[in-house]
Symmetry: C2
Subunit: 205 residues, 2 copies
DNA sequence: ACTATTGTTTACTCACGAGTAGATTGCCTT
DNA sequence: AAGGCAATCTACTCGTGAGTAAACAATAGT
């Protein structure tokens, strides 16, 4: 094995470095997209913020569409992962749903999750858009499954599953629009409280 | 008084016709914005959909920013009007809040309301953006007032007013994203059911 | 009839930003 | 040593779409 501080990189190191650069580009891009909006952000801007030039971005990611698609895909996989976790937890339907929702809300306050919320499908080209929407549908149906399990086991009030899904998604997506990372309440707390409100309803019990 | 079908218009008729054309432009614009997104819609497209040319739009509305600003302003005034109505109704806080929320949801399924939901503040220039955000804040505080009245009179469960406001706004804005006017359930019904869910919570009572 | 005003068009300008060509450098393999 | 590949740059092209200039038409007021 070569010395750890050798200036010559092993193949693994090289490909890791490459992946790290790709991710750095995505991070920089997603932050700018969230701040100024996708259309107000040029790839020149993103490049400049990393001290590189635009063609370098094209070297790692094919085009602007691709950049956005990767950003939202990351966000969406975090949401899917949340669904996966909830699915594997045991407890009744209501408990599992709450677990999912809490994590869901938190993701939406994170860079990539925020990007998912703020990105309209129209911003993407036809192919990317299709992928984007397919993933979103997947999350939707995961949520609906959890709801239906809860209704089935009696831990949730019986309702129109689809509508409840939309209501919950809306309420918990919205933080992606208003949440300020500098705010005093930590995201985890916000998530908890939001979910509790949705669980209890605003009428007194 | 001149004959009703005279080809010569009175001043009132003229200014009314002018206003009608202005509105027609806004309607056409907002529909296209909602469908394809603001940045994917050129004013040439909007003009073409009305069988006119772009400079005509500039004749009625100063620039693209202005067009969007007027669209969202219309939507926002409908929301404000809803708040006004609720404020003037009598009943306890919960009842008034529900009235407001139901109307709020309905507006968000309408052309101009949808535009409000779908438009990120970044799309607007600095001045318009400031106006836009000021109006939104006004709605927010109207909602919070209603919530606080309800908490005060005991018809609502005590909570973090701000968070509850955001949760409700999110849940009821979201239809602006997913609602399909061709759907079987009429907007009024959707609004009712959503509000009921939020009132009751998803846990059984 | 003459002039001003309003509405509308055609035919432009101009900036911006996505995407590319091609050169350059340096490491990695044989 | 030589050729190849990876990473990066500078310096372009080129389409699109916002916004405008200037002309033309119709109507209104005098």
């Amino acid at each position: 094995m070569p010395p750890a501080d050798s200036p010559f990189q092993s193949p693994q190191q090289r490909s890791k470095a490459r992946a790290a650069k790709r991710e750095a580009v995505l991070r920089a891009a997603v932050q700018m997209f969230n701040e100024r909006g996708f259309h107000q952000t040029s790839l020149d801007d993103v490049a400049a913020s990393l001290g590189i030039s635009k063609p370098t971005i094209y070297h790692y990611l094919g085009n602007k569409d691709q950049v956005l698609l990767e950003c939202v895909t990351i966000g969406l996989s975090q949401l899917l992962e949340a669904a996966e976790q909830a699915r594997q937890t045991d407890g009744n339907g209501a408990q599992r749903l709450r677990l999912f929702l809490t994590r869901y809300a938190q993701v939406n306050m994170d860079d990539f999750g925020r990007c998912v919320v703020r990105t309209g499908a129209e911003a993407l080209g036809p192919d990317s858009r299709a992928q984007f929407q397919a993933l979103k549908r997947k999350i939707d149906s995961a949520m609906r499954e959890l709801i239906e399990e809860g209704v089935a086991d009696g831990s949730l009030a019986p309702t129109n599953t689809k509508l409840l899904g939309f209501a919950l998604a809306g309420a918990l997506n919205w933080p992606g629009r208003w949440h300020d990372p500098q705010g005093e309440l930590p995201p985890a707390r916000i998530a908890e409280e939001l979910v509790t409100m949705l669980a209890q309803g605003f009428l007194p019990r």
